[in-house]
């Protein structure tokens, strides 16, 4: 066993030093290649992302033209005039301005009179130099690969081999020492035979053994039966590799922005494609270096951009010409949280009235690349919570009378959901 660990450690050290070397040489070369004013670049980038990015990209046509290298195509003054007040520029009869306006089908660009010349210059500087070159730590790829868990059975096989090897070595050592003249220990097999004969004759052991086996069998049997229909951890492969981690986690999109009916209705609702398009009309591709682990595979920018394209296909969005074609194709998601037909669970009651955090039942969604069922969703699980949780009677006029009556009658101000009738069968089964 020791040797295995040793080997691993050795590989790690080797890998890390290799990574370090690579990193060192890479950063060195970057420094050597260009001299970019990082401060201006950063300033420009920030401004660009907050003001321009919703309509412009550097490399690609979007709502407006691509802006990479725009300083080479247009005069600085013209650009400033356009940015500050393009309508005025067009009104003055500037041909270029009118032409570009027509080219983009008359979509109006807002005026940015608030920007100072320096700020505009920073933005333009950024459009020239582009994003700071990201240093991709080369080693991480390998490291991630190395950390990836092998299948569980492999470990067992390895362990078995190790144990066998250990036994063989032990036997060999023993034989060698015996051959060298050590006193011969009695054959373990022979002693086992004696023990076995003893066991065969001992009725008490038989009874205990049988009971033990039956109980163990029953325990596992019931356990298996109880898990029938419980889909905790259910993680189906969806038609789009949608990552909750990117949306809810990194970008902090509120759960109810997409699942908007949760506060009104029994269903939380899967967002319609037009909700996706609210953002994705402007986000056609993921950021460099984005990674999503999906169905055991790591998806990177190349694959993920294709996933975004799937939304466009569904919505009928022509990303080239930036218009809806009208040819829609609804997305067939696989439903993860399946309650049986005879259960009437109401999201609104829990979300709006009780104010429960989505995470309480759905788990750390913001960390899930691939969504799965976090809770068992069994009736026992529901009932446990209803038995333990006190109802917040304050602040909702609906409960005013109940609150008063409870205080008058029992001198208590706290009741659990169960005490208010929250575990009655008919409330959820009707």
């Amino acid at each position: 066993m020791k040797s295995v660990y040793l080997h691993k450690r050795l590989t790690n050290v080797l890998l890390k030093s290799f990574t370090f070397l690579l990193l060192f040489s890479l950063s060195f070369s970057t420094m050597a290649q260009e001299s970019v004013d990082a401060a201006r670049q950063k300033e420009g980038r920030t401004l660009f992302r907050s003001l321009c990015a919703s309509c412009h990209k550097l490399e690609k046509k979007h709502v407006g033209p691509a802006l990479g290298g725009v300083t080479e195509r247009r005069e600085n003054d013209w650009l400033k005039a356009w940015i500050k007040n393009n309508a005025a520029l067009r009104a003055s009869g500037d041909r270029d301005a009118i032409a570009i306006f027509k080219e983009y089908k008359g979509s109006v660009m807002s005026s940015f009179g608030q920007l100072t010349d320096t700020q505009i210059d920073d933005i333009l500087y950024y459009t020239d130099v582009g994003d700071p070159v990201k240093v991709v730590p080369a080693g991480t790829v390998v490291a991630t690969g190395g950390q990836k868990k092998g299948p569980g059975w492999l470990l067992y096989v390895l362990a078995a081999i190790v144990i066998c090897a250990f036994l063989i070595i032990a036997t060999l050592l023993k034989t060698i020492s015996e051959l060298q003249g050590a006193p011969k220990t009695p054959n373990s097999l022979g002693s086992l035979k004696e023990v076995w004969a003893g066991i065969q004759q001992n009725t008490f052991l038989h009874v205990v053994g049988t009971i033990f086996l039956l109980l163990t069998g029953a325990y596992f049997g019931f356990g298996t039966l109880f898990s029938v229909g419980v889909d905790q951890g259910y993680k189906p492969v969806q038609p789009i590799a949608f990552s909750h981690k990117i949306h809810a986690g990194e970008n902090k999109v509120d759960c109810q922005y997409c699942h908007s009916s949760a506060k009104h209705s029994k269903h939380s609702g899967i967002p319609s494609v037009n909700v996706c398009m609210n953002c994705h009309m402007n986000i056609a591709e993921v950021a460099e270096g984005t990674e999503v682990e999906y169905d055991g595979i790591i998806l990177r920018k190349k694959e993920l951009d294709k996933e975004i394209q799937k939304i466009y296909d569904a919505a009928g969005w022509d990303a080239e010409n930036l218009e809806y074609t009208g040819e829609t194709k609804p997305i067939k998601w696989i439903r993860i949280h399946n309650l049986p037909d005879h259960v009437n669970f109401v999201h609104a009651q829990h979300v709006t009235v009780a104010g429960i955090d989505c995470k309480q039942c759905h788990g750390p969604v913001e960390e899930m690349d691939e969504m799965y069922q976090y809770s068992p969703l069994t009736m026992g699980w529901c009932i446990d919570c209803h038995r333990e949780t006190n109802v917040d009677l304050k602040g909702n006029p609906y409960y005013e009378k109940i609150h008063k009556q409870l205080a008058e009658k029992y001198g208590t101000k706290e009741v659990t959901i169960a005490q208010l009738g929250g575990i009655e069968c008919g409330k959820c089964h009707h």
Partner: protein, 1037 residues
């Protein structure tokens, strides 16, 4: 004493039939045939499946099922691409609309979920009311079987463009040749559509618009036109009435649109002027069943009695005849005179002259109930025009026919001739929602939208408008009549724009269109001047006398509560709805009186499974005969008269199960609802099997189910008076003192003061038995339809039924003699000793009473007992009690022992003997994708082997609570009322649902009312359903 009346549900019961006795003791009418099978040793041994084989099969299937259950199916969730703004998944949207299908007209609210209409409720802001058919019309929307899906030329499907161009060419040719074309529709009552039609007629002057109604009120419209110069029907404000005298007019049922709401408003015993209703009629109708005094009168006698009433009131002597009911006429005349302008007379006759006499009496009374100033614009069909069209078609004078949503081939007595004549026309186009008989004889068939997919407007009375708006996208390739006509007139505007423009320039008067559309109705002040022409009463009476031919048998044709004019005959909810009077579903039948039945040998024996059999008869009228008509012996039917419901016997494209009954329209000559010169003859041999629920759920001879009293007793006697009280609670002896049963308890009571506690109050005085609640419950709770065979063996699934009880007054006689209350022992002795009758004979004595019994309706559903007998016997705790007073049924927990149903004294639990969804054996709405769209997603569809029952609509009460919580407010005072489908659907306000823990809820005074009682209160079940004692106005001082 009124509350100790003898109540009975079937004639057989009166005869003391042992079968009925046995049935009353069994919860389930049909035993499971285990003894039959296991008791027969030989069969058991020779069975091809041996015990070992059986065990093998069981083992294998269990193992297979277990294995299969381990892997859950993959479910897909497909969101919208672009979600409509106002749609929130899982939250219902309500739209105000109006139904106007030519027979039913009502302001309604439509509940939709994710764009599917699920439920129809009355628009109470617009004073709307719904009946069973309006409630059920939402299912007809999804009628995949009967609805037209594509335009058709002959048998071939064509495109709309082809249809438009070809029909357009034909129309142009006919116009050029100046050949007559008829546009045949039912009553549209739509101002904008009538304008479009008039514009169409301007474009095609050779077109004539003819209106006819399947069930005609043409006589009344003619009479109204003669007297008031306008073609319409008079309006009646029964809420202002003190004395109502009706001659065969079923105004609580469907007569001229139904007036049950106004009538019920006049029935408040506390208001001091409860109306007094006298009904002279031959068939037992809903109105007769509700009447304070029902006088059995043959149709011809009704006519003469009406003239005699005129004579008695005015002192004139119009030509008439003496009738057996003249003694009553005198009483009635004096009651009417006493009421003065608060009296009203209505007649159900199709004869124009009978209507004129009735109008004349109201004129003499200066009745304020009768309203000619705001007449009804529904059912304005003109039979004279129709007869002319049929004659012209046969004579070849008409070359073109356009029909819209009418089925003359089915519902005219000359239907076959009409079909033949249609085939000879140059152009015939059926524009129809349904693929009906007419749509199959015309050259072109154009599919029309259902009203839930349409735009439109309706004017039921002058100045009262309703708007129709689509609540779902067109399910099929359909269009609207208005669009089609606009197109043919060369107008390119869409109907929606046309409607909007028409409303803003003609109706709204500057008010907001959006608001009108939101409300679904619009009211405009109109000042109508009535110009009354005088009529020559003598000549009218003469003509009437001449037209009325007394004959041995007279036939009254009527529309049944369930099927109406037959438009919705393919609607399984309506077919399964038991008739309020006979309690038979899935059928029409001829009703004969008990006396005639004895004479002609008709019987309705009860089988040991609770089913009722009957004989067949041949009914002939003036040479036209209907064969194999089932016969139902009907207590209260006038001897010498028979009754038969229209609207049945439709065959074309109906589901096989729905092709039930006989087509009575063939006897509806000249659209006259009374036919003289009728003969009825028993067909020997064959036995008809009725699906009748009346004996199946009898309440085991228990008393205190129904309580009633008279207005006189109600006002003068203390309800709890020991001797004469009309609402005496059950008493028990406790500590050697007699105390009210409800005051003592074996168990410690749960605390029910905190939170909500639901009660349902049902006023037996204002419940007319109309059954809107039954269908509303059906729709809201996904109640399955089980079909005729299953209903016959007592397996109907209605969560809410309306029990109908007959009663008669032998007890009253007993009371007269002994001046004390009878009990079952003493009444038998009385019958034996004083009247000299044996047990059987006593029933015979009762039976004579049964010739005209009193009727009471009692809606019966789970009583939600606080001490529920069902809960204590459930071995798996599948039925439990909620803190809010609801007895909850947990289907997923139920293992189907049926102990609960056996222990329920109210017989309201229903067992799923089969799986009724996705089962081709029960090919109703739950077995196809369209029909399933009507299912309420908030209520689970029950599977085989579980018990189910009324839940007090817990899904909706919870939704009301959740809405209040979300909005951070208290629940509104009558918010809960509309949560319960039955209470929301009740037009008369007989059902009120609410929270007794909210002092301001309208239920609180009702639950504590002196009329309030619990059914079977001596059982101490402490129900949460309270009934209000029925009060009859016997018109005593």
């Amino acid at each position: 004493m009124a509350s100790n009346k003898k109540y009975w549900q079937s004639v057989e019961e009166l005869k003391g039939s042992s079968i009925v006795e046995t049935l009353s003791k069994n919860e389930f009418v049909e035993e499971i045939p285990t003894d039959e099978f296991l008791g027969d040793k030989e069969t058991l041994e020779n069975s091809s499946t041996s015990r070992r084989d059986f065990l093998k099969y069981v083992g294998f299937t269990t193992a297979a099922a277990t294995l299969a259950a381990c892997e859950g199916p993959v479910k897909k969730s497909i969101p919208y691409v672009v979600k409509p703004h106002d749609t929130i998944l899982g939250v219902a949207d309500w739209y105000a609309s109006t139904i106007a299908d030519g027979y039913d007209f009502a302001n309604v609210l439509v509940k939709t979920r994710e764009g599917r209409p699920l439920l129809i409720m009355p628009n109470k802001d617009a004073n709307g009311s719904t009946n069973a058919r309006v409630q059920a019309s939402v299912l007809s929307l999804y009628d995949e079987q009967l609805r037209l899906k594509e335009p058709r030329k002959g048998e071939t499907t064509i495109s709309w463009n082809t249809a438009h161009s070809e029909i357009g060419q034909e129309l142009a040719q006919l116009k050029e040749a100046n050949e007559s074309v008829v546009l045949l529709t039912g009553t549209l009552a739509s101002p904008s559509t009538e304008k479009i039609i008039s514009e169409f007629i301007v474009a095609y002057p050779n077109v004539k618009h003819v209106v006819y109604d399947a069930i005609s009120e043409s006589g009344t419209a003619d009479a109204f036109e003669a007297m008031f110069g306008q073609r319409a029907l008079p309006n009646y404000h029964f809420e202002k009435a003190q004395t109502i005298v009706s001659f065969g007019a079923d105004f609580i049922g469907d007569w001229q649109g139904g007036f049950e709401k106004g009538y019920a408003a006049s029935r408040n015993p506390d208001s001091g002027h409860m109306s007094y209703l006298v009904q002279f009629e031959a068939n037992m109708s809903l109105t007769g069943a509700n009447a304070d005094k029902r006088v059995v009168t043959k149709p011809s006698d009704q006519v003469f009695a009406l003239i005699n009433l005129y004579n008695t009131i005015t002192g004139s002597s119009l030509p008439s005849k003496a009738t057996p009911v003249d003694a009553y006429i005198k009483d009635v005349a004096s009651a009417l005179k006493k009421s003065g302008s608060h009296g009203v007379v209505v007649s159900g006759s199709s004869d124009k002259n009978a209507q004129l006499i009735a109008f004349a009496i109201n004129d003499v009374l200066q009745s304020i109930v009768f309203d000619a100033a705001n007449p009804l614009h529904i059912r304005k069909g003109n039979d004279t025009d129709l007869a002319q069209v049929v004659a012209d078609m046969k004579a070849g004078k008409v070359k073109g026919l356009l029909t819209y949503n009418v089925d003359p081939v089915y519902n005219l007595s000359v239907g076959t001739e009409f079909a033949e004549a249609t085939k000879k026309l140059n152009l015939s186009v059926a524009m129809s929602v349904q693929n009906d008989a007419t749509a199959n004889v015309t050259q072109y068939t154009l599919p029309m939208t259902h009203f839930l997919e349409s735009w439109g407007d309706v004017m039921m009375t002058e100045g009262n408008y309703g708007l129709v708006q689509p609540t779902i996208q067109n399910l099929f390739n359909t269009a609207q009549l208005q669009e089609v006509l606009l197109k043919w007139s060369g107008n390119t505007v869409s109907y929606h724009d046309y409607l909007k423009a028409y409303w803003s320039s003609n109706i709204l008067g500057g008010k907001s269109w959006n608001k009108a559309l939101h409300d679904g109705f619009f009211t405009r002040e109109v000042s109508n001047k009535v110009s009354k022409s005088s009529i020559d009463v003598v000549s009218v009476a003469n003509a009437l006398k001449k037209a009325t031919k007394t004959s041995e048998f007279e036939l009254t044709l009527f529309s049944s509560t369930a099927i109406g004019d037959g438009k919705q005959a393919n609607n399984p909810w309506l077919q399964e709805f038991p008739d309020p009077i006979t309690r038979a579903a899935w059928d029409n039948y001829v009703t004969v009186s008990m006396a005639d039945a004895r004479e002609l040998g008709f019987t309705n024996p009860v089988k040991d499974n609770g089913a009722i059999n009957g004989n067949y008869a041949t009914v002939s009228v003036n040479g036209v005969s209907l064969e194999n008509v089932p016969v139902m012996v009907q207590p209260g039917q006038a001897p010498g008269s028979i009754g038969l419901a229209l609207g049945y016997g439709r065959k074309t494209n109906l589901k096989e199960e729905m092709q039930v009954g006989v087509n009575a329209y063939t006897l509806y000559a000249d659209s006259n609802n009374v036919q003289y010169g009728v003969s009825i003859e028993k067909t020997s041999g064959a036995v008809h099997e009725f699906a009748c629920t009346q004996v199946q759920k009898t309440i085991a001879g228990r008393h205190d189910i129904l309580k009633e009293t008279t207005l006189k007793d109600y006002t003068t006697i203390d309800p709890k008076d020991h001797k004469n009280g009309w609402n005496v609670p059950a008493m028990v002896s406790y500590d050697h003192q007699e105390v009210e049963a409800k005051s003592i308890d074996l168990w410690e009571e749960h605390n029910r003061e905190i939170g909500h506690h639901f009660n349902l109050s049902i006023d037996l005085t204002s419940c007319t038995g109309c059954g809107a609640c039954v269908i509303a419950c059906h729709a809201e709770n996904n109640v399955p339809v089980v079909g005729k065979k299953e209903v016959r063996v007592g397996r109907d699934m209605h969560w809410l039924r309306i029990d109908r009880y007959y009663s008669s007054g032998v007890e009253a006689k007993f009371n007269e003699v002994y001046n004390k209350e009878p009990n079952s022992q003493s009444i038998r002795e009385f019958a034996k000793d004083s009247l000299g009758l044996g047990d059987g004979a006593m029933y015979a004595a009762l039976e004579t009473e049964a010739e005209n019994p009193q009727v009471a309706f009692q809606p019966m559903m789970c009583q939600h007992c606080n001490h529920a007998p069902c809960e204590t016997v459930c071995p798996v705790a599948a039925t439990t009690h909620g803190r809010q007073g609801q007895n909850q049924m947990t289907y997923n927990r139920c293992v189907g022992t049926r102990y609960c149903a056996n222990n329920c004294p109210y017989r309201v639990r229903r067992f799923n003997w089969f799986s009724y969804s996705d089962n081709k054996e029960f090919d109703f709405n739950m077995n196809n994708d369209y029909g399933k769209m009507v299912l309420n997603p908030d209520v689970v569809v029950r599977s085989r082997g579980v018990m189910e029952k009324c839940s007090f609509c817990i899904q909706s009460t919870q939704a009301v609570i959740l809405k209040a919580k979300k909005e951070g407010r208290k629940v509104g005072n009558d918010d809960f009322n509309d949560a319960c489908a039955c209470a929301a659907a009740c037009s008369t306000g007989a059902m009120v649902f609410g929270d007794v823990n909210n002092e301001e809820d309208p239920i609180v005074p009702l639950a504590a009312d002196k009329r309030a009682y619990h059914v079977l209160d001596y059982l101490q079940t402490k129900p949460n359903v309270v009934y209000q004692v029925k009060v009859r106005n016997t018109n005593e001082a």
